[in-house]
């Protein structure tokens, strides 16, 4: 019987003939932890009193509460730094040399087609955008994985997503994934992976694919995997570390269900509080905002910055609105300067910071007061996600976030033209 991409990767890495529903123990290519999830894993490791440690396979990326937010988070970040130093782990990305963990995993070439990667952060599923099987795990199991090089996996069922056409009218990958989550619900893909198919894929940029895969978890998904094509190869050619191998599904692979989308029918979407499944077309919205947030592992790449800068060029951020721009990595930050994008943002009245997870998870640098509303290019709009329990987060793509910053309410760039 044929296999899905997930079944193929898990078969190869476990040395078994794996199909959906089985539990396998597989060799992982890389394990990533961040400053929040790392310390719990490090303490488990020290308890083991072992010398086994897959040093070259462990990647440490502080991003959630760095630069240190307060004394407690400073201690937490210090614990990670000291663990790296004590055990001689070279893949440690200090503040100023890294950024948001998933962006760094891709830029530094740890993520690549055909690999099995786990990370103690739920958005580890992002690398499915470049044909990896990657998924979020907890801290204790991250420790098990970087100690033994192995971890247990339930081989997931796969939802086939057939894509045709191309985006029009300013729609993008964020709109497609919000639409999918809205259609199937926040548990619509629980324990499953999405596998993307069809001629529409060639019309989706790799950056947009990463956005789509990133939010597979918001439907409960274990991952969202794209095939490896010419665009993928181009995207990773200068960065991928070591050998990698593209993986395709078999023609007779078994899928739990099939979803079909014509990209030309996707319109700019916004997910209302307090779940990502509350998507509506932006044009049907009338929401005044206090803040617009552009950044995160979902939409903090250079492509997102370019799209947003095009929208705000020659315009000003509306009175009463804070426009926060947080690139996902030091590299993106630098590109923004090199391309003149930084100047565009500063001239329009945006606040621009260096890379951090920051306010995306309600950490710091953009927390909302009671009653405040933010349109945000991030991935979650749960109760109190970015601040007070009575604040609200509206999820949208980078163009809508930028246009909303200028309009003071949630709009598309097209609607902005008409004003």
């Amino acid at each position: 019987m044929g296999k899905t991409i997930a079944e193929k990767i898990l078969s190869e890495k476990s040395g078994t003939d794996a199909y959906a529903g089985q539990i396998v123990v597989a060799n992982v290519d890389y394990v990533m932890v961040n400053d929040v999830t790392g310390p719990i894993a490090f303490r488990e490791y020290e308890k083991l009193k072992t010398k086994d440690l897959r040093k070259d396979r462990l990647v440490l990326i502080p991003d959630h509460y760095v630069p240190n937010k307060d004394i407690l988070s400073a201690e937490q970040a210090k614990e990670m730094r000291e663990f790296a130093s004590k055990h001689g782990i070279k893949n440690y990305f200090e503040v100023g040399k890294g950024g948001v963990c998933h962006q760094v995993m891709i830029e530094e070439g740890f993520a690549a087609p055909g690999r099995l990667i786990v990370g103690a952060d739920s958005h580890t599923c992002t690398y499915g955008g470049i044909n990896a099987f990657s998924t979020g795990i907890g801290s204790t199991e991250a420790c098990a994985a970087f100690t033994t090089g192995r971890l247990w996996f339930k081989v997931p069922e796969t939802i086939k997503v057939e894509l045709t056409g191309r985006f029009v009218g300013g729609a993008c990958g964020k709109d497609l994934i919000i639409k999918i989550i809205t259609d199937i619900g926040v548990d619509g893909a629980n324990y499953k992976v999405f596998e993307f198919h069809g001629p529409g894929i060639a019309n989706i940029t790799v950056s947009d694919r990463l956005t789509i895969s990133n939010m597979a978890i918001e439907a409960g998904g274990k991952g969202g995997i794209f095939p490896c094509d010419r665009l993928t190869e181009e995207y990773i050619k200068d960065t991928a570390k070591g050998e990698w191998k593209a993986v395709e599904a078999d023609g007779d692979a078994k899928y739990s269900s099939v979803l079909r989308y014509d990209l030309s029918k996707i319109v700019p979407m916004v997910a209302y509080p307090h779940l990502p499944e509350n998507g509506r077309p932006v044009k049907d919205s009338d929401v005044k905002i206090d803040q617009a947030y552009l950044g995160s592992c979902t939409n903090g790449r250079i492509e997102d910055m370019r799209i947003a800068a095009d929208v705000v060029k020659g315009r000003k951020v509306a009175d009463g609105v804070r426009f926060l721009v947080v690139p996902a990595s030091q590299k993106v930050f630098r590109q923004m300067i090199d391309e003149g994008i930084m100047q565009t943002f500063l001239e329009c009245g945006a606040f621009v910071s260096g890379p951090t997870c920051g306010a995306c998870l309600g950490g710091y640098m953009g927390i909302l007061a009671a009653g405040e509303k933010s349109v945000s290019s991030t991935n979650r709009n749960f109760i109190g996600r970015m601040g007070d329990k009575n604040s609200e987060v509206y999820l949208a793509g980078p163009a809508v976030v930028a246009a909303s910053a200028v309009a003071g309410k949630i709009v598309t760039p097209e609607q902005l033209e008409g004003q």
Binding site: P39, I40, L48, G138, T140, A144, G220, G362
Partner: protein, 159 residues
């Protein structure tokens, strides 16, 4: 495993990990006091009333969202004997199995304050005079739970 009896605290669908333990409490891995803050945004005062021996009964997709192990850890620390839900989100399920928080996947009709009983070996929940059946854990997970969690498998060279 012994039969468990406990008082019900009722929750709905899609209880996310930000509700269980808000992100702003994740600035430290020193977990001694994390249980003081469970559900602080959605049910202020909950941590002070609920815990030891109690049972959370919830709807679909309990534990969705972030991979933070602080969520099951803080529930263990609070002393909940188990979580009964119609379904669990994947990473929360993994974390709980790995570190020893008992999860019962079962749709149960119970009200807040009811006392219900759970028999993990028989695969039964008794609530309001009714019996609800639930399936046993799959083989590997059952072995891991019996071993006392994932790190014991690692210590024994069984992973």
């Amino acid at each position: 495993m012994d039969k468990i009896e406990g008082k019900v605290w009722k929750f709905g669908d899609n209880v996310d990990t930000d509700q269980i333990i808000p992100a702003e409490r994740l600035v430290s891995a020193n977990l001694d006091h994390l249980n003081d803050f469970i559900f602080e945004k959605v049910r202020p005062g909950f941590a002070q009333q609920a815990g030891k021996g109690d049972i959370i009964v919830a709807g679909k997709n309990f534990g969705c969202g972030s991979s933070r192990e602080h969520a099951p850890l803080s529930l263990i620390e609070s002393g909940f004997s188990c979580i009964v839900a119609e379904s669990f989100a994947r990473i929360f399920y993994r974390n709980s199995m790995n570190i020893g928080l008992l999860l019962i996947e079962c749709k149960v009709d119970a009200e807040e304050g009811d006392v219900i009983s759970v028999d993990p070996d028989k695969g039964e929940v008794e609530a309001g005079g009714k019996i609800y059946k639930f399936p046993q854990y799959p083989g590997f997970i059952s072995e891991m739970v019996k071993a006392g969690g994932l790190m014991n498998l690692v210590k024994e060279g069984r992973l």
